[in-house]
């Protein structure tokens, strides 16, 4: 009977990056790989291997811990945006990678060239106070009637979008 591995499941579908690189000459320099978890995005996402130096480590036997370490530099394109050359050594162990054949590379490159980034939403920097807070503020004599928003990269609330101030229309 074979060894039965017991553990947590993942949603990864693919091979470890080192298992792919180890099969290619020059350690896969210049080849393109994609991650299956990023294929759900409509925008093009792929990596181009620039340099790879595997450590060819062997883990504990029968536990599928081989070929997890090494240094790899890739050129990253994520969701249509080009991030330049990055060090991907820490995520190379994930069994999520797939080699892109040379005749399929053109499709990804075309998608990247034709990709137009979505228009930037301009969000108003202030927002109405929640109605109860407004009442309290009026009663206590504060002049402010609006809240200043802290707009960072994660702002998702657009005034007038879902869950906007209209929710409180007619409450008071």
């Amino acid at each position: 009977m074979p060894y039965k591995l017991v553990g947590r499941t993942t949603l990864f579908r693919g091979k470890r990056l080192w298992e792919i690189i180890g099969h290619l000459k020059n350690f896969g320099e210049g080849r393109m790989v994609v991650r299956s978890t990023f294929e759900k995005y409509p925008e093009p996402t792929f990596y181009r291997i620039v340099l790879a130096r595997p450590e060819m480590d062997t883990g504990r036997p029968h536990m599928d811990e081989d070929n997890m370490k090494g240094e790899v530099l890739v050129e990253k394109v994520f969701r249509g945006m080009h991030y330049g050359v990055i060090n991907m050594s820490k995520v190379a162990y994930k069994p999520d990678f797939r080699l892109v054949h040379r005749h399929e590379e053109a499709r990804y490159i075309e998608a990247f060239r034709n990709h137009k980034p979505a228009d930037v939403d301009i969000v108003s920097p202030v927002m109405d106070m929640p109605p109860f807070l407004k009442m309290v503020a009026e009663r206590d004599g504060h002049a402010a009637r609006e809240l200043k928003l802290k707009i960072g990269s994660k702002i998702k609330w657009v005034p007038g979008g879902q869950g906007g101030p209209e929710l409180y229309e007619g409450v008071i």
Binding site: M1, P2, L5, T9, T10, K15, K25, D64, H101
Partner: protein, 447 residues
């Protein structure tokens, strides 16, 4: 004789003789392609010639046992020193050293000439199975011959009629997705075609190491499980699939009647019926012809398909192609392939020989540079160790000489003379008191 129609027996004999003659003349590349003279000049280099293979192997083994790794330059020197590939134990030693190098971080520094030297040593020694083992397991052995080396390999295997080995080299080229210049493409096509059409080939062995499995189910706890994934490229194991994919990918590069026929044959062997249908339709619309032998082979492969609907679709596509105007042509594909390879060889050989000789020179220079670098590193390490030792020595002597001058400072360094003693805290779990043991034979002393 010219006016009379040839009788079937005579005709058959003529054709058979012609075929036999063609089969004998598998001389695509001349003997100069091996560049034996220039290759043997590597042994004149003092670096290489000063090595004694037996002692060097022993030293490398010792180093591996002590440090757990071998350096790339050492392995390269060993491989280049092998002058008698037929000696006993060469194949095992080569395999072991290549494995030690590949499974260490040193593999990133592997020199180019190591691949060529290993291939030459195993090829000339006739160790085909070991060579195939090294070629087909890149994770374990990491042998990546370049195009010129692959040409030599395929040509030698075709000459020796080892079609399995030649087809495996061609499938290696396909897995790397790099068929190279025209000569390599043509040779790959020829290797696969001869493997398919010849009856008794050497077995296509599976060299993946067998894991010994225990009799009862043993459960092992791991952090995360991997989902089963078949990538249809490096995971391909069936010889038909590998050879079929090689044919299907290499044929469009070659083109012509040979290219078209082999592409159809490739897709059929590989079992990709959609691509096969697309290729057949393309031929019909493009009004191009393919060889009849391929059509009959493809028909027999299609008949093996289980899915009835797919089978019918393919048979109808094939029938449509046959019915078309320039559908099928009676042409001897093997002679066409041979001619193609010979033409490509004639064109490419002089330049390839020149490039190979330049490679030898470049590798020799690289070898010397690497050797010098290693020597420098070793020298630096030794120097640093000596300096450290000297520093420690000097510090000890200094302490002794200046003891009375520094007595005050040294006494400050001493910890406080009185050591504070804390009483033993009662433990949280007091030890169980043992019951008093009454010694029966005890007589209290008389006072």
């Amino acid at each position: 004789m010219a006016g009379r129609a040839l009788r079937p027996v005579v005709l058959h004999r003529l054709l058979f003789c012609r075929n036999a003659q063609l089969q004998k003349s598998r001389h695509f590349l001349s003997a100069n392609y091996r560049c034996d003279e220039t290759w043997n000049k590597r042994l004149e280099n003092p670096l290489v010639s000063s090595i004694n293979l037996g002692d060097f192997y022993y030293d490398l083994n010792q180093k591996y046992r002590h440090e757990g790794k071998v350096s790339a330059i050492d392995v390269d020197l060993f491989m280049n020193r092998i002058d008698d590939p037929n000696a006993e134990g060469v194949a095992e030693e080569v395999e072991e050293l290549v494995r030690h190098l590949r499974r260490s971080p040193e593999t990133a520094n592997t020199l180019e000439s190591t691949h060529y030297a290993v291939v030459r040593a195993l090829l000339d020694g006739g160790h085909t199975s070991v060579l195939m083992q090294l070629l087909t397991q890149p994770m374990m052995y990491g042998l990546f011959p370049d195009h010129l080396t692959c040409n030599l390999l395929m040509h030698t295997f075709l000459q020796r009629k080892e079609y399995t080995a030649a087809a495996r080299v061609a499938s290696y080229l396909m897995l790397q997705e790099d068929f190279g210049p025209h000569l390599t493409q043509a040779l790959a096509l020829a290797s696969c075609y001869y493997y398919i059409t010849s009856e008794d080939n050497q077995p296509w062995e599976d060299y993946t190491p067998k894991v010994e499995e225990p009799k009862e189910e043993v459960k092992i706890r791991v952090k995360f499980l991997r989902n089963p994934y078949y990538d249809d490229h490096f995971d391909l194991k069936e010889p038909d699939h590998l050879v079929g994919k090689t044919l299907a990918w290499a044929s469009p590069l070659v083109g012509g009647l040979v290219g078209r026929s082999c592409e159809v044959l490739g897709w059929a062997l590989y079992g990709k019926w959609d691509e096969l249908e697309a290729a057949l339709d393309r031929l019909r619309t493009g009004k191009e012809h393919i060889a009849a032998s391929v059509v009959s082979h493809v028909k027999s492969l299609i008949e093996g398909v289980e899915d009835g609907q797919v089978c019918e679709q393919l048979i109808s596509a094939l029938a449509r192609l046959e019915a078309a105007d320039s559908g099928v042509v009676e042409q001897d594909l093997s002679s066409a392939i041979t001619q193609l390879v010979q033409e490509a060889a004639k064109e490419a050989e002089p330049l390839d020989i020149k490039i190979q000789k330049e490679n030898y020179h470049r590798w020799e220079k690289q070898r010397e540079e690497e050797y010098q670098k290693q020597i420098e590193e070793y020298r630096k390490k030794q120097l640093m160790a000596k300096i450290e030792h000297k520093k420690q020595d000097l510090a000890a002597r200094e302490e002794v000489i200046f003891f009375f001058d520094n007595k005050n400072k040294l006494s400050l360094l001493l910890s406080d003379a009185k050591k504070k003693y804390y009483h033993k805290k009662s433990p949280a779990y007091p030890k169980k008191k043992k019951p008093r043991v009454i010694d029966e034979a005890y007589i209290p002393p008389e006072v």
